[in-house]
Amino acid sequence: MDQSPKPAESGLIPDSSGQEFDFGHRAGRRWGERVIAGMLFLCGLVSILTTVGIVAVLVTESIGFFREVPILEFLTGTRWSPLFADQHFGILPLLNGTLLIAFGAMLIALPVGLTSAIYLSEYASLNVRGVIKPLLEILAGIPTVVYGYFALTFVTPIIRTVFPGTGIFNAASGAIVVGIMIIPMVASLSEDALNAVPQALREAAYGLGATKFEVSTKVVVPAALSGVVASFILAISRAIGETMAVTLAAGATPKMTLSFLESIQTMTAYIVQISLGETPHGTLEYSTIFAVGLVLFLITLGMNFLSQKVTRRFREVYE
């Protein structure tokens, strides 16, 4: 860019006679340029304001909550019952539910997503890719409330047939659909990472007599590991923030459990429950959604940072 012609900011160009050629609106043009640059900068600033707004709202509204409920009790309590007469404000049951869903979703999405990515990047012909990629994009584009419907009307009945005695609301159903939901994300981000591995590495391995399987799993995947891990972290973060499918399918019973067949409640589902209910604004019960929202925001933000760090720190740089 340094050698390229500079924009004519002054609007003045000396003509052949040595006199300056006046385009007519030079003052106006210069002024207009500044105004436009300023306005575009303001557009960029909106994103900063959004972040500031999110943090400010969550923190200021949570302060009132933490005046009444000690932070330690909030973070270590094992009972969550803000709406009952016997009030407890320990977030661990909600965290338990959220992590249970995220863990179950991971069990599905990480292996399926990664092997799909390997297939697309190493095995599939262009034609096959051309069919599968759009299908995965469709899967990624389906609204989460539709996954919720699918969980409740299709997955849950199957689970209840296989495990009789399971309730209508159970963690397994939510975890399965959230897992399906994030497969495309893992597959497409991992595939990008695998595609970025230079062809020379593959050819070198083939030259040594490796099979396609060995090239894929011992050369390409390790070389792209940072990108693959980053995609895993982003997908888990997405599973943690997922709302509608778990609200519909996983229930509204905050509890400490490791069983997938019980009704649980995630942080997101709790926030939805309160905002749908009759809880009046300004009460302690209502302010719980900001405290829970703050925890949710911090967890997902931390995971996003982590994934960026992994990408930057462990990226194998070729050429």
Partner: protein, 289 residues
């Protein structure tokens, strides 16, 4: 170099390869099968309820009289207002970042911040919208409060997509424009923007199709579910298709589930049309440069 230690084991290695390839294929098949089952489930439940009445009736306590007119109109309002707010701001921010921003700490923060915002759960945007638009600006539980919330939600996606589109404009175009004496804005306005526009529009349409499928943030800002009238102004209360679907799905009666499935079909068709439009734009204008 003792050759006794080396066993090529070719057959076993090849068999491992075959097994692995099969596992990969099963994975792909699992995703595609899930998609097929989901669509099958929805169409099986909902197809019988698709009718003109469904599209022209307002919600009702009685399934046979219930329709999604207010939800469709609410979704259209939401789409229009969200696009009107997020498109200019998103494109403006992208132009700033690509063409104006100096390489300094502020720009780096802006860029990192946009990437992080794209990963914030949508329900957190709902909390933001509730506190800022509904309460602080006292917009109430209105169409405009919902649209502003969704606009913030999809802004990072629009910015990132527009940046990609602007990056793809060849530098020679810029230099030619500067070379004949155009100012920076004239160059952007007349040469860079028109070339990047198809890419920008594609990104915008795709992010809008994400917005109209969003439920959680609109539940947060209090989009009502029982609305028996269409919004007449941006300040009116509203409902949208995903919220109507959520509402019906959460009911125990089977009839309402089937209504929800019918509404899902309508929503998916709408999304399909938008995606087809995006693909059409991409293919139609891609080859110009």
């Amino acid at each position: 170099m003792s050759s006794e230690r080396f066993k090529p084991n070719n057959r076993r290695r090849r068999r491992a390869g075959t097994i692995f390839k099969t596992v990969c294929l099963v994975s792909i098949a699992f995703s595609i099968l899930s998609l097929a089952l989901l669509l099958f489930d929805v169409v099986r439940d909902g197809a019988g309820w698709l009718s003109i009445d469904l599209l022209t009736h307002y919600p009702s306590r009685f399934p046979e009289r219930a329709g999604i007119k207010s939800a469709i109109l609410g979704t259209l309002w939401m789409m229009g207002l969200t696009a009107a707010v997020s498109f200019p701001i998103g494109v403006g921010a992208a132009i700033y970042l690509e063409e104006y921003a100096p390489k300094n700490w502020l720009t780096r923060i802006l860029q990192t911040n946009i990437a992080n915002l794209a990963g914030v759960p949508s329900i957190v945007y709902g909390i933001l919208g509730l506190a800022i638009f509904v309460r602080y600006f006292a917009l109430g539980r209105s169409v405009i409060a919902g649209a502003l919330t969704l606009a913030l939600l999809i802004l990072p996606v629009i910015i990132i997509a527009s940046q990609e589109a602007i990056k793809a404009v060849p530098g020679s175009l810029r230099q030619a424009s500067y070379g004949v004496g155009a100012t920076k804005w004239q160059t952007i306005r007349h040469h860079i923007f028109p070339v990047a526009l198809p890419g920008i529009l594609t990104g915008t349409i795709l992010s809008l199709s994400r917005a109209i499928g969003e439920t959680a943030p609109l539940i947060m800002i209090g989009a009502l579910t029982f609305i028996a009238f269409p919004p007449k102004s941006p300040m009116d209360p509203f409902t949208v298709l995903p919220i109507q679907i959520f509402n019906w799905t959460a009911k125990p009666q089977k009839e309402f589930h089937e209504l929800a499935a019918a509404a899902i079909i309508v929503l998916l068709v709408l999304l399909l049309v938008m995606n087809a439009a995006a693909i059409f734009l991409r293919n139609r204008y891609q080859k110009r440069i």
